[in-house]
């Protein structure tokens, strides 16, 4: 019996590069994206809002179980798990995120699903599409490393 109903959201982050620099000014990690989302919930929905969202997801180890489950720094895709009754609130808070640290970012939702399996499928499709695009854009990417990180992150889940 499934007691906790969740929603898994696949989001991509758009980072506005100030110049035409090749290297990304910001590397997305689980920590900094989680921090940005939590700050946004706190600013917009207050302490109680934050507590309500994290309450069902907070494990004993506070640092360990974060909201953002999977981040791919190259394709900038994140998978976020939220409980079903709070997912619209968290989604609105994510939409209102304007920056991570000093760098302006914005999030765009690709897919919402109720199971991790459907979410994985959707995320894989998005990543493949983006990968095609990157291959067109720049020929010299460290391709094996990227595929490796993708697989490893998914296997962890």
């Amino acid at each position: 019996m499934v007691h906790f109903k969740n929603r898994y959201m696949v989001m991509e982050a758009f980072i506005d590069t100030a110049g035409k620099g090749q290297s990304d000014p910001l590397i997305l990690t689980q920590l900094n994206s989680t921090k940005a989302i939590r700050d946004s919930i706190q600013i917009n929905f207050g302490e109680c809002g934050l507590a309500a969202c994290l309450g069902s997801l907070q494990g004993i180890y506070e640092l360990y179980s974060s909201i953002v489950k999977y981040v791919n720094p190259i394709t900038k895709l994140c998978v976020i798990r939220v409980s079903r009754e709070d997912h619209q609130k968290v989604w609105a808070a994510i939409t209102m995120v304007r920056s991570i640290g000093k760098i302006p970012v914005s999030f765009n939702l690709r897919d919402v699903s109720g199971s991790i399996r459907a979410c994985k499928k959707a995320a894989l499709e998005c990543e493949e599409a983006k990968f095609e695009y990157y291959k067109l854009a720049a020929g010299d990417r460290i391709t094996p490393k990227f595929v490796e990180t993708m697989e490893s992150c998914f296997n962890k889940d």
Binding site: F14, D16, I43, N44, Q88, K89, W91, A92, T95, M96, R98, P104, V105, S106, F107, N108, L109, A129, K130, Y133
Partner: protein, 396 residues
Amino acid sequence: MPELAMVTAARAIAEWDHPATDITHLVTSTNAGAHTPGADERLAALLGLRPARHPLHARLLRLAKDIADNTHGLPKEKFLATPLSAMALAGFFDLSILPDDSKSTTTNTSVVARALDLGYSAVALDHPHRGLLTDSHAPIASSLRVSPSASLHRRRHPFLQYTRITLSLDSAAACASALAPSAARLLRTYDIVAARPLTQAAFDHLCQATFDHLDIVSIDFSHKLSFRLKLPMLKLALQRGLHLEIAYSPLIADAASRRQAIAEAKLLVEWTKGKNLIISSAAHTASEIRGPYDAINLSSYLLGLSTQRAKAALSVNCRSLVSKALRKKHFYKETIRIDRLLPNKQLNSADFKLADWISWDPMPHEVDLLSLELPAYKGEPQSLDINPEPSANEDD
């Protein structure tokens, strides 16, 4: 659908038995509805029934007859009457992209590129304007060149860009002068015309008086409103077919503008219940625009709109607004447009390509072709008993 239209046009011209160059006028008319039934059965029905049973087509015939009577000197005047119906699925629209303040160019290409990436099907580039319109304010028709491989999403329809102007009006007199018929020529160069009232008098006047060219009433919610929204005025505006616009960029910007925006926009949402409401981004930079589903969720969660209405506010309402606005600009009394064909223009079946229609009516639509000929203008008694009603969505 366009193939079917082409085939019937070709057949009609073949039956007609005159060289195609004899066609001197092309009279086209549009059907008001976006929900017409299947085009093939419609075509069959139209070809089978007499023309006068359709008030729209009867009007068309009468107008064609009037033109024929009044233009002398041309030996044989043949008319090809073609009604069109728009039947495409609504994509997502972002009807307000503001020019970038820091750059000097008038079109904001980075925002448009971001909108393309995010999955919008059409955008409108806004020119906010205060004061009198002069000729120097005509829109510069530079839009982003879109290559088909540019976007990750598979698109069924091309990415469309419209031009829009937002007039900030601070008194009833300003409304009257800015939207008067004398300014119509300039207003018609923009695809969409919006007005932003700054005072109570301006808001009341906009809602009450009928202006031909006004499409949207947009209120800037990021600052405290200096006037009140009144329910009877809103009802009048909705009756006249005006659309009301809410921009979501104040919700994303800093806390103060968010507070103002939610407080005022909630009232508007409650009173209109999402009818004739459109949601747009009012984005200056690419970081202020959000994807369509994000915007839907944001406005539905924060403003109290239901998700279905919010989605409609971003897609279907915008689409009907744009098609209405374009019809106002290009068609006479929203139904009939007359194109004079030059004598050397070959009117063969290849000319009825979809690209031809799209070049002047930039909405993705399917063309439903009824070809009627009027060889003799005297002996058509059934075309003369016309009820001059506005064009109906359903046929008899």
